[in-house]
């Protein structure tokens, strides 16, 4: 199924990032060039939330309206890699939406409460689900997606709750819902600027 979809180009990736950044007044930085990220990596490692190396090499991070990514936007070896940069843009901007809604409480509870961290990440991973549906017309497995929360040092029960939220979210999405604000903004932009990337009928 994936072989039939059109390729993502660097310009589409850059265009969507620019659009989201303008709309949400966010700034994007390359993680390895941001000294503050080394401090955050150390703090998260000490709190037992994230592995230092993986945090720097693989994770994108959002602090308020500052987004740190472990890649150069629009640079990728394949269409799938570039598509992942689009999904990352939407996922991280959903964290900006959460920050706008909950303010500093978002950052505090994200760090200090497993349940809150699971809630915020589940909400952001719903964007991955929504974007995947738009592009491929397939639902990502709720269990598989919820398993990603394991890297955020949440409990087994939190992962179970996340799976259930993502399961019912998948049900709504396949009936045509777009739940997350960042997904809605991105899908509107993609429909207008890169409709060839969408699954037929999405």
């Amino acid at each position: 199924m994936k072989a039939e979809v059109a390729n993502v180009t660097p310009n589409i990736v850059r265009g969507l990032w620019r659009h989201l950044m303008r709309l949400y007044k966010s700034n994007v930085f390359e993680k390895r060039r941001a000294p503050e990220m080394y401090l955050v990596a150390e703090a998260l490692a000490r709190l037992g939330i994230a592995d230092r190396e993986r945090f720097m090499r693989e994770w994108s991070t959002t602090l308020g309206r500052r987004i740190y990514v472990p890649f150069t936007i629009g640079v990728g070896a394949s269409s799938d890699v570039l598509w992942n940069q689009i999904v990352t843009a939407v996922h991280e901007h959903q964290h900006v939406v959460q920050y706008e809604a909950d303010g500093l409480g978002f950052m505090g509870s994200y760090l200090l409460s497993d349940a809150a961290r699971a809630k915020y990440e589940t909400d952001a991973y719903r964007s991955n689900l929504e974007l995947h549906w738009w592009r491929y017309g397939e639902l990502l497995g709720a269990e598989e997606l919820a398993e990603k929360l394991r890297a955020y040092a949440v409990s087994e029960a939190d992962i179970g709750v996340a799976a259930k939220v993502l399961r019912v979210s998948g049900d709504a999405v396949r009936h045509g819902a777009v739940v997350n604000e960042a997904s809605l903004v991105a899908i509107r932009w993609l429909n207008a600027n890169a409709p060839q990337l969408a699954a037929q009928g999405a």
Binding site: A115, V165, D171
Partner: protein, 107 residues
């Protein structure tokens, strides 16, 4: 003698008052001790939002049908997950699940 009786009555009244304050404090500032705490993973529809009981035993939104309605420009409603959702992953919990569906599709 009379003074001692009055003293005892005063003490009993004081204990009753303190007890009443403690009881009111315990029952008025949080959900009732029995039946008010949600079970982790339990779901419900509340004000057109599908809510789930998180691991800290608080209700949190799982799916906000009001937001979906706003995004879609047509009404979506909170409903129990129907039997036609069987193709989705199995749930880690056995109890009822709730989702949002377009109002026109709900009988």
């Amino acid at each position: 003698m009379e003074r001692r009786v009055i003293g005892w009555m005063y003490l009993v009244a004081l204990v009753a008052l303190v007890g009443a304050i403690v009881w009111v404090g315990l029952t008025a500032c949080r959900p009732p001790l029995l039946g008010g705490v949600c079970q982790v993973g339990q779901m419900r529809c509340q004000g057109n939002v599908a809510e789930i009981c998180a691991t800290d035993r608080t209700w949190i939104p799982a799916l906000d049908c009001r937001a979906i309605s706003e995004h879609a420009g047509r009404p979506w409603v909170c409903v129990a997950l129907p039997a036609d959702a069987g193709a989705l992953d199995a749930s880690p919990f056995d109890d009822e699940q709730f989702t949002c569906r377009p109002e026109e599709n709900v009988s």
